[in-house]
């Protein structure tokens, strides 16, 4: 695969940019190791999902228009987040449905946007990126990745492709972690109760690493792990794949 030259635009997401830049660095390194040339359109900020989920659709549209300009062209776009990916791939065409010109642009962008694991497995055809790490890994299937983008197997295949890593699925692998954006603050008691089940399931499966493809779920889960002083390390899939331990 490294023989072909591919170039992608990185949609880093505002959360990774501002809070978890190390995830972004891992994404860049993993892609480059597969011979992918990475470009970062520097005008990008946010996709508008916070506004859209809050019902502020007009605000979301204004931000989305900016986004369409920033990612104009015909280059593939890679995003290390199922929910920001869903915003662009699923919801952009929906919110512009009554503006034919913009809708066409949104559909075009939707078709060439890929979530990180989806891009590696379904576009590049890679499940072994040459990573190695001795660890027991549980996977949290982020809701938008699984049920909006329908990306189910690629992250698991990539985890299983890591040398030394043992994939230990938790019973509630596909259950929501209770984040839901502002939901986690406005209805924090419910959010906590849902997260509690997730953490219990995580503890039961005996993993020492929790991997997901969405930094928002990870911020949520690791926020509780940190508060409880749990030894389980939560990380983005890209960070696991960026490991090259000598085994």
């Amino acid at each position: 695969m490294t023989a072909t030259s591919r170039k992608v635009s990185l949609f880093i997401t505002c959360l990774v940019d501002q809070f978890f830049p190390e995830v972004g660095e891992a994404v860049v390194r993993v892609l480059r190791r597969q011979g992918v040339e990475v470009d970062f359109p520097e005008g990008q900020t946010c996709c508008g999902q916070p506004a859209f989920n809050g019902g502020f659709t007009e605000d979301a549209k204004a931000v989305a228009r900016r986004f369409l300009d920033n990612f104009d062209g015909d280059q593939d776009v890679v995003v290390p987040s199922g929910s920001c990916g869903a915003m662009v791939k699923v919801f952009y065409p929906e919110i512009f449905h009554d503006e034919p010109g913009t809708a066409a642009r949104a559909k075009d962008l939707s078709a060439r946007t890929y979530e990180f694991s989806e891009y590696l497995v379904n576009v590049l055809g890679v499940t072994d990126v040459g990573a190695s790490k001795k660890t027991k890994v549980a996977y949290h299937a982020a809701c938008h990745l699984l049920r909006e983008l329908r990306v189910k197997e690629p992250p698991r295949q990539l985890i299983e492709g890591v040398e030394g890593a043992e994939y230990t699925p938790m019973e509630l692998e596909e259950a929501c972690c209770g984040f839901g954006g502002t939901f986690s603050v406005k209805y924090s008691e419910i959010s906590e109760a849902i997260l509690e089940d997730k953490l219990k399931s995580l503890a039961e499966c005996g993993a020492d690493t929790l991997v997901s493809c969405d930094s928002s779920c990870l911020m949520h889960i690791s926020g509780a792990l940190s508060r409880r002083g749990s030894p389980v390390k939560a990380m983005h899939l890209a960070q696991l794949l960026d490991n090259r331990e000598d085994s």
Binding site: E42, G55, R147, G180, L195, G223
Partner: protein
């Protein structure tokens, strides 16, 4: 039924703190939540997906041509000797029922389980004119004695323990306390049997109404539906106007889809089909059959092209069992007849109240409901639409407006994402503001309205060196 959805927050907190409710909800996840999965796996995924698609197509077609099918249904019910009544709202519907009851000097009504009857509060109305009305579905009967609304669409009393059932039976039916489920069932059976035999009128809901034959179909597991439709001299069937299927062969499909999604059964223990009143050649059946077709806000949903999909719902409860929110707060917090994901959609639209504004927001949009739904209703996308209606002002749900701090935060956010420079600056300011609150890069306490986050979770400090800076200063050329 009074709309109490404005109390969603306090109701949900109370439910979370109630150990018995939590135990019942945990059981639900592994009980009713698992059954339907097994029932669909047994069919193999492609067959089940095909059934879902066909069911969804049939409902979508029917709802899009509802006027045609309503007329056809009405004609065929009348041809079979039944009477058809159209009710614009709950009041009209219950007036129709009361009118029939008065004309026939009814003293005792036996009732099958029906969600639309909860919208009408028909029991209260009947009681108010001195008519006794008895629920005959065991769960509904228990709740009627306890004076509580259903907790779950298909398992209304799932939150009650056998001890509580025994206590209410002892109090209201003067029986001896018992710990045995069989004994409790026997008590209910004996009490209800007498009601069945003495009732003058039966009221049921309608699971499906077949337009081409004028047949109504009831799906039950206790056989009480059959008693209500055949023993009393008058039978009134109440239906929401969306419950139509075009053809009898469509019913065959839905009789497989509904029980699988509701209880994990291949078919329910009883399926009762009623076409008009007793004919001269019939051995039993009512002298009079009335079908009351209730709108009560549904035509408003029908008028909206995106939201009309909500009328595809066959009330199986699968979305409740799949929902992480319902799984923690249960049915009563939703504050009206319908709970869970489908309740979060139909309650704001049917009641049209500002009070229901919590419901579309009290969701993580995880999409588990959409995957569980046998008729493939895209509930998360509809919740988003309702959020938009509420926040920006629309016709579907009365404008509740976002809270001031949310609107203010949104305004600030809009300014900050205008361009990459402002964005970087805003985030730097954010970091500076959070820095004094943090230790080792973690914020342990945020001020209101964000304090909900840090009640049990740490919040990360924005990075001192965001990605875009790392990109510019090295990563780009690495």
């Amino acid at each position: 039924m009074d709309v109490k959805t404005k109390d969603f927050v306090s109701g949900s907190k109370a439910a979370i703190l109630d150990p018995q409710i939590q135990e019942a909800l945990a059981k639900l996840r592994n009980g009713l939540g698992r059954g339907p999965r097994l029932a669909s796996e047994e069919l193999t995924p492609p067959v089940w997906q095909d059934m879902r698609q066909r069911a969804s197509d049939i409902k979508t077609h029917t709802i899009a041509n509802l006027d045609y099918y309503l007329e056809k249904l009405s004609d065929n019910v009348e041809k079979a000797g039944g009477h058809v009544h159209f009710a614009r709202d709950a009041k009209e519907a219950s007036d129709i029922v009361l009118d029939i009851a008065r004309k026939r000097d009814v003293e005792l009504v036996i009732k099958g389980k029906s969600m639309v009857s909860e919208e009408l509060e028909i029991n209260d109305h009947l009681e108010s004119i001195g008519i006794e009305s008895v629920e005959t579905d065991l769960g509904e009967y228990i709740l009627q004695l306890m004076n509580e609304p259903p907790f779950h669409i298909i398992a209304p009393a799932i939150h009650k323990s056998r001890r509580q059932v025994s206590e209410i039976f002892t109090e209201k039916l003067k029986t001896l306390p018992s710990d045995e489920v069989e004994q409790l069932c026997e008590t209910a059976r004996e009490t209800l049997r007498e009601k069945f035999l003495n009732a003058d009128m039966g009221i049921t809901g309608v699971n499906f109404a077949v337009a081409e034959t004028g047949t109504i179909a009831l799906v039950t597991n206790e056989g009480n539906g059959r008693m209500c439709t055949s023993l009393p001299k008058v039978h009134i069937a109440l239906m929401g106007m969306e419950k139509i299927l075009p053809r009898l062969e469509d019913l065959a499909l839905f009789l497989g889809v509904l029980p699988r999604s509701a209880t994990g059964q291949r078919i329910s223990s009883y399926v009762t089909c009623v076409t008009g009143p007793r004919r001269s050649t019939d051995e039993d059946g009512p002298e009079e059959f009335h079908l009351v077709i209730v709108d009560n806000g549904r035509s408003k949903i029908l008028a909206d092209e995106q939201m009309r999909e909500a009328l595809n719902c066959i009330r199986c409860g699968a979305c409740l069992n799949a929902c992480p929110i319902y799984g923690k707060v249960g049915g009563h917090a939703y504050g009206w007849v319908y709970s869970g994901p489908i309740g979060a959609i139909v309650t704001p639209m049917l009641t049209g109240t500002v009070e229901a504004k919590h419901l579309p927001f009290a969701s993580t949009l995880c999409g588990a409901c959409k995957d569980a739904c046998p008729v493939k209703i895209d509930i998360p996308h509809m919740l988003l639409r309702l959020r938009q209606e509420i926040t920006q002002g629309g016709t579907l749900a009365k404008n509740g407006k976002a809270p001031w701090y949310e609107a203010a935060l949104m305004k600030g956010w809009r300014q900050s994402v205008r361009g990459s420079r402002v964005f970087s600056l805003a985030n730097r300011l954010g970091r500076l503001a959070l820095l004094p609150l943090s230790r080792n890069g973690k914020v342990r306490r945020l001020p209101p309205p964000l304090s909900g986050w840090t009640r049990f979770r740490d919040f990360p400090l924005p990075s001192a060196k965001p990605f875009r800076e790392r990109w510019r200063k090295g990563l780009k050329d690495e």
